[in-house]
């Protein structure tokens, strides 16, 4: 089989089964994963707003779901997802506009920074929200 002699040096699209895990592919994959996560979270936020307009009883039901431990865990993951997508999305805009940060080392470093930002900023916002308010 000559097919096993495949040595095309061109990069392949980042597909989970064929790509070795590294920071830039992980941030690319998780940009999409977090986008879908944000979509699902937006359904929860919509329920919150619609309940707010429906009256105190409906609002109480949605509030109870969000304050339940399962709701709290989902909200925290949603916050991480939104913040990662925001940071990594800003990088997409910097790639498209000023066209900076394409060098492999810089790209890897910013991937790590974006993951760290998502988790650390979510933890800080969460602790501020639960302690100050």
């Amino acid at each position: 089989m000559s097919g096993s002699e495949w040595t095309d040096p061109r990069p392949m699209s980042p597909h989970l089964q064929v790509w070795k895990w590294h920071w830039t592919m992980a941030s690319s994959i998780f940009h999409r994963v977090s986008g879908v996560g944000n979509y699902l979270g937006a359904l929860l936020v919509s329920a919150w707003l619609i309940a707010l307009a429906s009256g105190a009883e409906a609002y109480g039901t949605v509030e109870a779901v969000m304050l339940h431990p399962v709701g709290q865990i989902l909200l925290f993951f949603w916050l991480v997802s939104v913040l990662f997508h925001l940071a990594n999305g800003l990088r997409h805009l910097i790639w498209d506009g000023p066209k900076a940060g394409f060098e492999p080392k810089a790209a890897s470093m910013w991937s790590i920074v974006n993951f760290a930002f998502g988790i650390v900023a979510a933890a800080i916002i969460w602790s501020l929200a639960t302690n100050l308010f």
């Binding site: 707003l49 307009a53 509030e63 308010f133």
Partner: protein
Amino acid sequence: MSTNFKTPAAAARGLGSAKSGTGHHIKQRVSAIALLFLIPWFLYAVIAASRGGYEGATAWLAQPWNAILMILTLGAAFYHMRLGMQVVIEDYIQKAGMKQGLLILNTFVCVGLFTATALSVLKVWISAGL
């Protein structure tokens, strides 16, 4: 030398073989720029609004600037979500019928939720009578 089979009109429109050119990409980026400003406000806003229970949240949303920014956030977010989910569906769903069904569902969900949530914001704002 390669032969260019494009008609002059197709070359002038510049929409390429996918027939939509860079339109989707640009819409995604422009809504992203709006969300870059709106989402930090939104996160702060929802935390501030939800701390006071039902009364606190309605009083908060009844403030004109909060209502305006909330509707702008909802518009930009549902627009951006519809475009993003469209690409995910196009990339991963192979059966044509299922793909088209999900693309239509995606549009209906985003437009429907935008309408319902924007009207909810207006209702809270108008009910407060400010």
